[in-house]
Amino acid sequence: MPWLTALLALPLVGLIVLLAIPGTARNAVRMWANAVLLGGLALALPLWQAFDRAASGYQFVDRMPWIPTLGAQFLLGIDGISLLLVLLTSLLGPIAALASWNAIEERTKEFYAMLLLLQFGMLGLFLSLDLLLFFVFFEVVLVPMYFLIGIWGGERRLYAAIKFFLYTLAGSVVLLLGIIALYWQGGLQLAQPTFEIAELLKLQLPLDAQRWLFWAFFVGFAIKVPMVPFHTWLPDAHTEAPTAGSVLLAGVLLKMGTYGFVRISLPLFPEAAREAAPILAVLSIVAILYGALISLMQQDWKRLVAYSSVSHMGFCTLGLAALNSNGIAGSVLQQINHGISTSLLFLLVGYIYERRHTRQIADFGGLAIGMPRFAFVFAVAVFSSAGLPLLNGFIGEFTILQGAFIVNRAWAAFAVFGIVLGAAYLLWLYQRTMLGDVRNEANRGLPDLSLREWATVLPLLLLALAIGVYPKPWFAVLERPVLDIAGRLAR
């Protein structure tokens, strides 16, 4: 059985089996879903070993005919960039499932069915090398996420769920038109019309066509990232989603946008990308600063973390806008870092919400006294997110700033200010919730992290440390594909 196809099929097969389990057998449902997702992780991890870092192009390619009439194939494959994102997805999937063990009491079976479907969609997106297949997965993830937010979400879940769906869909229909137009252009130049990205890279697109296509794809991806000014769906969706939903939304779904830029927009439309880079950079810097300032103002713990994503994703897009190898490599690594640190933050918010049923920052204070382990993990998460050296966030942001600095010093200068603001709102959050005396009696005697909760945060903690202390292997994986893309952009 081809490796990547098996990896992709696993959650789907797991879902079908899950449907056969009676909904009343909640523990069986939970165990099965966790086992399937863990199995996926076990299947994905050896890719890290088997992956050839020196080779150019895609590896482990699985190719099957899908819609020959259209020239669409079932085409899976990975390079260093997608390898990292696939591993991140495979890791966050089981973590999200395990984190929901006690949190989801209602409609448990449906919940895990949606998680598995979501996992299928997310993996498929990062694995596919065929644009139509890519688009299908781009849409597939919307449905389970809609239900995750809409059924198991917070108070304003109905509003948040449809807002998320409509926003992303509005972007993706424009993306679809872009894909169709690109396909049609390809049909004029290539012997056989195709959606295969590697084939489409051979096209000679006139600048005018590149511009139109770039901006069509931009709308689809920028909403997904989300870049300012398309970010307004994010705080609602992230805040209202259940913990697992927030983790996967912030950890994986946002990366679909940036991944789209790296995989499609930049290499396929390099000249248009060069033209558009200053606009992207300005939007990114606005996102970094604006997201950070808004985070400073938040009263709601989870909403603060949500807005911090706007700021941090701004760094990822800034790295892309630099269009050089430093910027792109930093951007991809920062996507992974953001996946780790923000997932940690959302997990911890979720755990505290399960204990206290409130997320208002003002309700907390002095948690470190009663929950020292929780406070320790939260400290690492905060430092990682704020970009403290020796933790993962620093490496990513530093490399991005390097890349930006080469192109335009002003970009880097503004972005650095964003890091300062980031440290400010994160540390202030830490101070208000963890430090000081216990002012609210309800915060006394809260149980510290349980074994299950440790199991969800520990892998992320270790990864944050590992990347921060020794980033070389991560960059080694990225080197080849990033150089290829940067080479296309420099031409």
Binding site: F165, A170, I180
Partner: protein, 477 residues
Amino acid sequence: MSHFYTDVDHFALLPAILLAFFGCAVFLFDFLLGERSRRWQLALVLPGLAMTGWHLWKQGQIAPFTAFHGAITIDAFGLFFNWLFLLTAALVALISYRYLEIEEEHQGEYYGLVLMAQAGAYFLAVGTELITIFVGLETMSLSFYVLVGFLRRSRRSNEAALKYLILGAFSSGILAYGFSILYGIAGSTYLSDIAMAVAARPAFDPLTVLAILTVSAGILFKISAAPFHMWAPDAYEGAPTAVTAYLAVGSKIASLALLLRLFLGPLGTAREAWEPLLILAAIASLTVGNLAAVTQTNAKRLLAYSSIAHAGYLLLGLVAGNATGLQGIAIYTGAYVFMTIGAFLVLMAVHGEEIEDLNGFARRHPGYAVPMVVFLLSLAGLPPTAGFLGKYYIFLALIESGRYVLALVGAAYVAVALFYYFRLVRSMFLLPAIEVERPQASSLGLRVALGATGLVTLGAGIYPEPFLQLAMRSLLK
């Protein structure tokens, strides 16, 4: 066989004869069956449809050919649509009986009228002579007028039937007027003669333009495209839900077949004159249908408005004017049959018409609610469903022919459509149930139809190749 009625003529007519024959048989034998055993009428209807299908298949072996001196043309185009009519009628017959029993209107005539309507529709797809077409159209329409008012004791059903009858008769009149002008232009009622006569005139010849205006007004009414859509929401809402499905699918695609037959055939050379007209109608349909659907509280009305929007997408396929556009129409209509009937049959199973009747439906009947999500996603045009393919081809056709703005308009309305379709999903999955137990119009036939429509809608989206091949081979002349 005489010179006036040859073997070929008979062969070309046979499916319609069979449909009418079995329709009459249903009328005749109805008195033999008691109230509870009326569902045995299906034992007449389904074999009738099967025999019709058998003869359609045999016609397909030697198509294309003409009969009655060119009044009937059996070609791939006509056969494709007739297969769709057949599927539609079979599905509608299957899903109806329990529903009609609950409404206490389970009369045998119902099945007879379904078959009669299909017999009329037959000529819309294969007719190539104006009188033949018109008689077919009226046979179909008359059957539908009765079917819409089939719930005799329901005032809304009666009102809907009357509205539909009056407006329908009016539009038929306009269409007949257009036909008479075409006859005036050509001196013949055969489409092939008309084609030559129209081609000999300039595109903006006043007579041709007048004929186009009147003919398109008449047909746009039948496919419920704006600005001739006013009847649709009322008729859809008042009609028994099974008839609504038949009306939304059977009547619409039969009239679409006629539209294509006329506008690609005899009026094809006057494209310059009718294209702007159809573009306006398409944009108006998309706008009216999608925007009005957003505010509906009645699920049938919502689907009615959405079906106006679907007429808009189909018109866009014709506007694009290339082979891709025609393939798009074929795939779109094929998908439309399954997803629309699917959506309506779930509404029948709920046996409620207001959107809030669906509240909490997923908790009680996930077996209906989950397929409904597939149908609604398909209606909105999201992958991986059949509806996505239809939209994909339409957009591709528009981009190929350089009509980027139209493509963008069509794409933008996908998001709007999703919003109102997902109001149904929201009711079914996200909102708590209302504690009213209502009769479930579920039955074996309904479940079979649900399985079939659901499988096709999803299956064609996941592995579309066979369906694309089928549509491609069938529609291109």
